[in-house]
Subunit: 157 residues, 3 copies
């Protein structure tokens, strides 16, 4: 496998994921994951304490789809959008057709009235399946820097 | 055309553009565009509504130059600087010697007294001419996430 | 030297550096520098005025180690963490086994109580030794956009 090509495809996956959420195409969001996957949003403190649960948790693409359905149906929250800025991205161990990848991110939140604020910062700890293109996340842990997690955390990160 | 080389040159164009503005070398800014070009700063709402105008608009390199001249001459605004953080960058369709590229950005604004704030977030929707190096923007749409656009928007984004 | 490979290794160095600080592995931080090096945190105004000193200064890896020791021993400051977002990265002149590299960054600061704020923005002006992998910084100038430098600036940037 050509290392540069693998890296470019990993960058592409991470960029496409952010764009999907930021452009509110949430119905496509589960497709970035493998059928059996692990998606978790948690705080650094919980993560370092070894807890495997968090504010948001899913163990399959089906659970992610359910989450989007619920989110669309409920629709009780104040409409808002995110803008993800991601980088730098580190590609770690690549073996058995999977890559371990870590990246820093911030999410800016834009409320319906245009009010903009720094909503969250943290990092993505990813395990990415490289066996077919486009690549998929087998695991995506969203580790938030702050334990102060806004109750408005409805949209995935 | 080697795909990796093209991507690196696209990244280089986007980085050089941000640096030019952030370092206040605005006189060089029009040179990032093709002679006939389309530069627009607008809000997501206006863009999605299909409006082709915005807060700032130019249809040629000459118009961009005029804008810089006016900006330097007027000089009535409170001096400030931007710092652009850009990423991730997605390279989309590449055909007929042009690439469609999308990227997320935030602009931090630093006032003369050092006061720093998150000024704008959004994305760049670019069409880039690949026929000669360095590449040039044929179209650069700056889509701001918020419709609350600061009246201090004088420096290009 | 393959240009793409060099660029990837430069990106890797910059990403690993940010991760090291953000994950509070400060004892490893001096290892990103050459034995004889130049590390400086200063403001844009001081830098443009040609001053070679700044808020933080070190001329060797040993001085960087001393700084970390002092920082760990003192421990009088309020505990906090940074999250660096870096990009875009520009690779400039590459000659005599060294590269000149410039990148934009912001640092978000997360206090112990979870309070998160945009702490600093600026750019890195780097000279990187390419003679052996992993690469090392021969010079890393941290040019802050604002001259309002928080007295809490204890952790390296």
């Amino acid at each position: 496998m050509d290392e540069t090509a693998v890296r470019l495809s990993i960058h592409e996956l991470i960029a496409a994921y952010a764009e999907c959420i930021d452009e509110d195409r949430l119905e496509e969001w589960p497709d970035f994951f493998a059928e059996k996957c692990h998606y978790l949003i948690t705080s650094r403190q919980s993560h370092e304490a070894g807890y495997r649960h968090g504010v948001v948790y899913a163990a399959s693409r089906g659970m992610l789809k359910d989450r989007v359905l619920a989110l669309r149906r409920a629709n009780i929250f104040e409409p808002h959008r995110y803008r993800h800025i991601v980088g730098p991205i580190r590609v770690g161990k690549v073996e058995n057709g999977a890559a371990e990848v870590r990246s820093n991110f911030i999410a800016v939140r834009i409320m319906h009235d245009g009010e903009t604020s720094l909503f969250a910062s943290g990092r993505y700890l990813d395990r990415i399946d490289l066996s077919a293109e486009p690549y998929h996340f087998v695991e995506r842990l969203v580790i938030l820097d702050s334990q102060k997690i806004d109750t408005l955390l409805v949209i995935p990160l």
